[in-house]
């Protein structure tokens, strides 16, 4: 699809807005519809859109395999880490009240980091699945290691 002019131009215009919208959904998940899952999926969908138009190699250059695999694990680690932080600061596992001097602010902080962890993992998994399916055709380039 690289040679289709309309697709290329529209794609170049749309992809930054899609990624920006994903970040908006992530950070405004507290005040409107949204949150970690939606943001991760929309971000992955933006990257899939880019890969469909400009080719898998270009998408791999923007988000390499190593980065995506790290994202997969880092999100879960972050989520579990917030729980452990609650333990270290004197409360229960995944207790947000102890994360800050003011318990309500502690809740805000805990919810924020937990949603980031969820978004990172979901985005990584969706992208990784797409990469594996798309590169399985065999003809183009070496498979992922």
């Amino acid at each position: 699809m690289r040679h289709d002019l309309v697709l290329r131009v529209v794609g170049k215009l749309l992809v930054p807005f899609i990624l920006l919208f994903a970040l908006y959904v992530q950070f405004h998940g507290d005040f409107g519809p949204g949150g970690g899952f939606q943001a991760g999926v929309i971000f992955a969908a933006g990257m899939v859109f880019y890969a469909l138009i400009f080719g898998l190699e270009n998408a791999r250059r923007v988000m390499p395999d190593r980065l995506v695999e790290t994202m997969l694990a880092a999100g879960v680690l972050l989520y579990a880490g917030v729980g452990v932080a609650g333990l270290l600061l004197g409360g229960n596992y995944l207790d947000y009240f102890v994360l800050d001097r003011n318990p309500v602010l502690g809740q805000h902080r805990g919810i924020f980091w937990v949603e980031v962890g969820v978004a990172v993992t979901v985005c990584g998994v969706m992208l990784k699945i797409f990469y594996m399916f798309a590169s399985r055709g065999g003809a183009d380039g070496p498979g992922p290691q």
């Binding site: 519809p33 997969l72 879960v76």
Partner: protein, 188 residues
């Protein structure tokens, strides 16, 4: 009086969307062309997302639209391309599955008729934990995010782990390159 009119309109919108979904699924069950089936699944997911908005479930609608109609369609098309399959084989008369499905439907409808009326404010679902969740204890206006991340945080941790496990599983399944036609070497 106007309230009853509004109630009827809201119910009608949801019911109309449900009828459209049923039509889409009926065509999906009958078609043999797999590409058409994938597109119909995308249509069904979009209609489901619209029905979710009509039912005031905006977070769920956003997720269903992005996941069901977006990612799911892409994955199915990718798998369809890899499996090189366009058509399903013609079906011999499926009497036994039809009978099983019909009896399951009768049982489930019999059970569903015992559920509370649609949009009944006195239904048990609204009586126990939900009023407490709506009390704004954690000062986060989006109650769904608050419940997901704070009140039911352990569930979300488990679900993130499930998603991670699925990713690892797919890496394990599809890691090797596609073997050559002669059954030759496949590298790890």
């Amino acid at each position: 009086m106007a309230e009853r009119g509004g109630r009827i309109i809201e119910t009608l919108i949801v019911d109309l969307l449900l009828v459209l979904m049923a039509l889409a699924v009926l065509v999906l069950a009958r078609t043999r062309n797999l590409f058409a089936a994938v597109v119909l699944l995308g249509i069904y997911s979009f209609l489901m997302a619209t029905a979710m908005v009509a039912l005031d479930a905006v977070d769920v609608a956003m997720t269903e639209a992005a996941v069901g109609a977006g990612i799911s369609t892409v994955l199915l098309l990718g798998a369809l391309h890899l499996c090189r399959s366009q058509e399903a084989k013609p079906v011999h008369r499926p009497w036994l599955p039809l009978a099983l499905s019909a009896s399951t439907a009768v049982l489930l409808i019999h059970g569903a008729l015992g559920l509370p009326d649609f949009a009944d404010p006195q239904a048990p679902i609204h009586q126990h934990v939900a009023p407490r969740y709506l009390q704004n204890e954690v000062d986060v206006p989006n109650v769904v995010t608050a419940v997901l991340a704070s009140f039911r945080g352990f569930d979300t941790l488990g679900e993130t782990t499930v998603v991670f496990t699925a990713g690892v599983g797919i890496i394990a399944l599809l890691r090797r390159r596609r073997p050559k036609a002669e059954g030759g070497a496949d590298e790890a």
